[in-house]
């Protein structure tokens, strides 16, 4: 019985690790963020995959999310955010802040 429980526990643990935090995608194109408004679940840690489709580097930055991350041109990178209280969290591209603006909405 204990052996069986152990196996069950191991499977549960492995599933949790494999599943990980839910993933959301953000794309940078022509110095704009797509989507410009990203809805994520509140009170949950989220894996944000940022794909930079521009040839130039960009820095994903947000004072509200406490995040700052460079994504080289034509590459992708991962930023973990949250768990967030419900609300809006603006972010911007520090290299092209005039156009690269967006916000995370936690619901």
């Amino acid at each position: 019985m204990r052996k069986l429980l152990g196996v069950f526990g191991a499977i549960c643990g492995a599933t949790a690790v494999l599943a990980g935090p839910p993933e959301f995608q953000l794309e940078i194109r022509d110095h704009l963020f797509f989507p410009a408004e990203l809805v994520v679940p509140a009170n949950t840690k989220v894996r944000l995959l940022v794909i930079n489709a521009d040839p130039t580097a960009e820095e994903f930055e947000s004072y509200e999310l406490n995040r700052e991350k460079i994504i080289p041109g034509g590459r992708k990178a991962v930023v973990f955010i949250g768990p967030l209280a419900p609300g809006e969290y603006p972010f911007f591209g520090e290299f092209f802040p005039k156009t690269a603006q967006g916000k995370v909405i936690a619901r």
């Binding site: 840690k45 040839p55 580097a57 460079i70 080289p72 590459r75 990178a77 973990f80 768990p83 290299f95």
Partner: protein, 255 residues
């Protein structure tokens, strides 16, 4: 684009200029040669170029959080170098920990500026604006560093040493907290609870907020682990610095 460039270059320059001027002041106060600073700057700029060239590859390490891990490692190395500097009164004027701290600080800040500038290589029309912005940002940053240097070395020696010690301890605490934040961002360590929220009182994106961020690592919404790392390293350095050199150390500010 001009303003964006000035702000970006200045932000990166301020943090590096702070540690450069404080450690340069420190070696002058200890009567050491300033020659190490040239070696540190050249090493740092070369390192920044190597990092910028390999940024794309590094970025994809460790399941796309490579930059966080590498940058955190650099922050902790700066922190360790400053702890080594403070740990033994006899070794307070050793140049190699200062060389390590300054060159890594320059790698970190310089790499970001180089990646930003690399975006304009193909855009000839933007060159003059970006060059002017960089020159302005760098000029203001270097001036701020020079001002701090002369403020520190201009004080009476004992007071100057205390001020430099305080600034070094604050800087090391800031590096530890930034390193921890990077590991939280990479999901290598848990986020922990938010200790305070002073965004309403002093926004991080305000001019004062930015300045305090560069000087002492001000955060409007820090995690418990950032605060712990900051306070821990700051206190440790503070305690180390309290141990005054004795005459037996042969390096004292003795009679």
């Amino acid at each position: 684009m001009l303003l964006t460039t000035v702000v970006l270059v200045l932000r990166e320059m301020l943090e590096a200029a702070l540690i450069v001027s404080v450690l340069l002041g420190w070696s002058v106060l200890h009567g050491r040669s300033r020659r190490w600073i040239g070696v540190a700057l050249v090493t740092g700029i070369a390192g920044a170029a190597v990092y910028a060239v390999n940024a794309a590859a590094v970025s994809e390490w460790f399941d796309y959080v490579g930059m966080e891990v590498v940058n955190a490692a650099m922050q902790f190395a700066v922190c360790t170098a400053l702890l080594v500097l403070a740990a033994r009164p006899a070794a307070r004027a050793a140049t190699w920990p200062m060389l390590v701290a300054v060159s890594l600080a320059v790698v970190r800040e310089g790499f970001e500026i180089l990646l930003y500038l690399s975006g304009f290589v193909a855009d000839r029309g933007a060159w003059s604006t970006v060059a002017l912005g960089s020159a302005l940002g760098a000029g203001i940053g270097i001036s701020a560093g020079a001002l701090l240097f002369y403020l520190v070395v201009g004080l009476r020696r004992v007071r100057a040493l205390r001020v430099a010690e305080l600034l070094i301890a604050l800087f090391a605490g800031n590096m530890a907290a930034q390193g921890v934040l990077l590991l939280i961002q990479a999901d290598w360590i848990p986020g922990g609870v938010q200790v305070w929220n002073t965004a309403g009182l002093l926004a991080e994106d305000s001019v004062l907020g930015q300045l305090l961020y560069a000087l002492i690592g001000y955060e409007a919404t820090p995690s418990i682990w950032q605060v712990t790392a900051y306070a821990g390293v700051f206190c440790l350095l503070f305690v180390f610095f309290l141990r005054r050199p004795t005459r037996a150390d042969g390096n004292g500010s003795g009679p």
